[in-house]
């Protein structure tokens, strides 16, 4: 068996674990669908903008984000329950394990968010081809977000409460400092320029804006927007991969973290 096949086997196992976690599916589906079909609709009647048009595409990105972050929980569980010792005993390199987890995290998030995208398209018709074109870029974003989560799992590998605390703060921080819930002009009116720049550079903002403009508003896809998603996501993937790989290497050499 080649290294690539081993990576794919491990990735497939982690990918199926995500969809077999019943409580996680219940949380994600109830949260994202109720955001799309209840919160967006009620707010639409109360706001000065068409909030459905703004928020429904963003819920797809929120789903992608939440599903990607679960990669960190699975990595942390593997550390805590000793599954990682078994994985290190397999005929696969340390980097192979890292790649397998990031690949599975990115893929699971993309499959999950694609199902949300289909529901969103029933609620608000959009351009299917633009959505298909965006998928590879969303996959890169998902691996980046999985990387953030992997980095926290590696940092807090022995203290569960710290991992979940980091994850919650990052999740809330990244979502609130993005254009997922509100348009950029509102952010500009309230925040100083440096915070507005952070909000614009946030990969979630870039993905949500691309989803709104290209898939649902029907504007032609701009390569610069896609490049923006790549450039803002890849650093997170690299940082996460390095942090997780370092933790695995330490575990292999010292036997503990």
């Amino acid at each position: 068996m080649t290294e690539i096949r081993r990576i794919l086997t491990l990735a497939r196992s982690d990918f199926s674990y995500f969809f077999r976690t019943k409580w996680l599916m219940a949380v994600l589906l109830s949260l994202n669908l109720s955001d799309m079909l209840v919160v967006a609709l009620v707010y639409k009647n109360m706001m000065s903008i068409d909030y459905m048009k703004h928020f429904v595409p963003a819920v797809v990105v929120m789903g992608l984000f939440a599903a990607s972050l679960d990669t960190g929980r699975r990595i942390w569980l593997a550390f805590r329950e000793g599954v990682v010792q078994y994985e290190l005993s397999l005929p696969i390199s340390t980097n192979g394990i890292v790649i397998a987890y990031l690949l599975a995290g990115g893929l699971a998030a993309m499959v999950y968010s694609s199902s949300l995208l289909l529901i969103a398209m029933i609620v608000m018709p959009g351009a299917i081809w633009s959505a298909v074109m965006l998928l590879p870029f969303l996959f890169v974003l998902a691996t980046g977000l999985a990387g953030i989560s992997a980095a926290f799992a590696a940092l807090a590998s022995t203290r569960g409460e710290f991992f979940f605390a980091y994850q919650q703060i990052v999740q809330v921080g990244l979502l609130t400092l993005s254009t997922v819930p509100y348009p950029i002009n509102v952010v500009q009116n309230v925040f100083p320029p440096f915070l507005t720049a952070i909000v614009s550079a946030n990969p979630l903002s870039q993905a949500a804006d691309a989803m709104r403009n290209f898939t649902f508003a029907g504007y032609p896809i701009e390569p610069s927007a896609l490049l923006g998603i790549l450039l803002s996501s890849i650093p997170f993937t690299i940082v996460g991969a390095v942090a997780y790989s370092t933790a695995l290497h330490k575990l292999r050499v010292k036997g503990k973290l």
Partner: protein, 258 residues
């Protein structure tokens, strides 16, 4: 009494050394109010703002009610986790009555609620500018009553967990989201479409949040009748806590550890 205090402390201690979760709840609350709340409230149309006041204030009260719900629900889930981790059989073997054990669970939930809500509640009261003794006492009492009701509801559902822990967690977490979204926590009843308003009337959070808002001086015309809200919250707390007490007397024996 010392036994009760010792057992409450036994459960509470792991959460306070260090108090990571409490601080995280405070930080998350601050981010949600100072960033999300301030920005989202800019989007509301002037006629809505005229009717309900500044949305940031409406949202901050909703957030406190949501936190109360989450903490109350956590108390119920905690009980199930203990049952499956083998801690419950140990507690059952102690020389205390079942009703005392139930009181310990309720007090532990109450203490957790008090610790986690201190800062968010103080912040909300300052934001609203409503700091009279009567309003603070009535508010704390309402939130605890709601918290006990929710904890009792989750304890009442725990019999499912004794068959399948996975299924219980899926039901409880899914149900929690639906209870929050189909309620007046984030938006007043008058702005809900008719089909959603019916579902919102079934959510205990609708009554809890409307009562809390009434105490804090919101316009009563956008809220439910407080007499109905008090009656529903009381019925919920009494019935679910009685069910929990019944379950702990009869059904917890022989729960298998995971």
């Amino acid at each position: 009494m010392s036994k009760i205090v010792r057992l409450v402390w036994f459960d509470l201690k792991p959460q306070l050394t260090p108090p990571v979760w409490i601080v995280v709840q405070w930080v998350v609350f601050s981010i949600q109010i100072l960033i999300y709340g301030s920005l989202i409230s800019q989007l509301f149309s002037p006629n809505v703002t005229e009717r309900i006041g500044e949305y940031l204030k409406f949202y901050s009260v909703g957030l406190v009610v949501m936190m109360t719900f989450e903490i109350g629900s956590h108390t119920g889930r905690h009980f199930v986790e203990h049952a499956h981790e083998g801690r419950l059989p140990y507690l059952l073997s102690l020389p205390i009555s079942r009703s005392t054990l139930f009181l310990v669970i309720a007090l532990q939930g109450g203490a957790e609620l008090a610790l986690m809500l201190t800062v968010p509640l103080a912040f909300t009261l300052v934001l609203l500018g409503n700091l009279t003794i009567i309003s603070v006492v009535a508010l704390v009492f309402t939130l605890f009553w709601l918290g006990f009701g929710v904890a009792g509801l989750m304890l009442g559902l725990s019999f499912i967990a004794f068959k399948s822990s996975d299924f219980y967690t899926a039901i409880v977490t899914g149900l929690s989201t639906v209870i929050i979204r189909f309620s007046t926590v984030l938006y007043p009843l008058i702005f809900l479409p008719a089909s959603y308003a019916g579902a919102a009337m079934l959510s205990p959070l609708t009554y809890g949040s409307d009562l809390v808002r009434l105490i804090l001086g919101f316009d009563p015309s956008i809220l439910l009748d407080p007499r109905i809200a008090v009656a529903v919250l009381t019925a919920l707390a009494v019935s679910t806590l009685s069910l929990g007490l019944f379950l702990i007397q009869r059904l917890v024996e022989g729960v298998k550890s995971a």
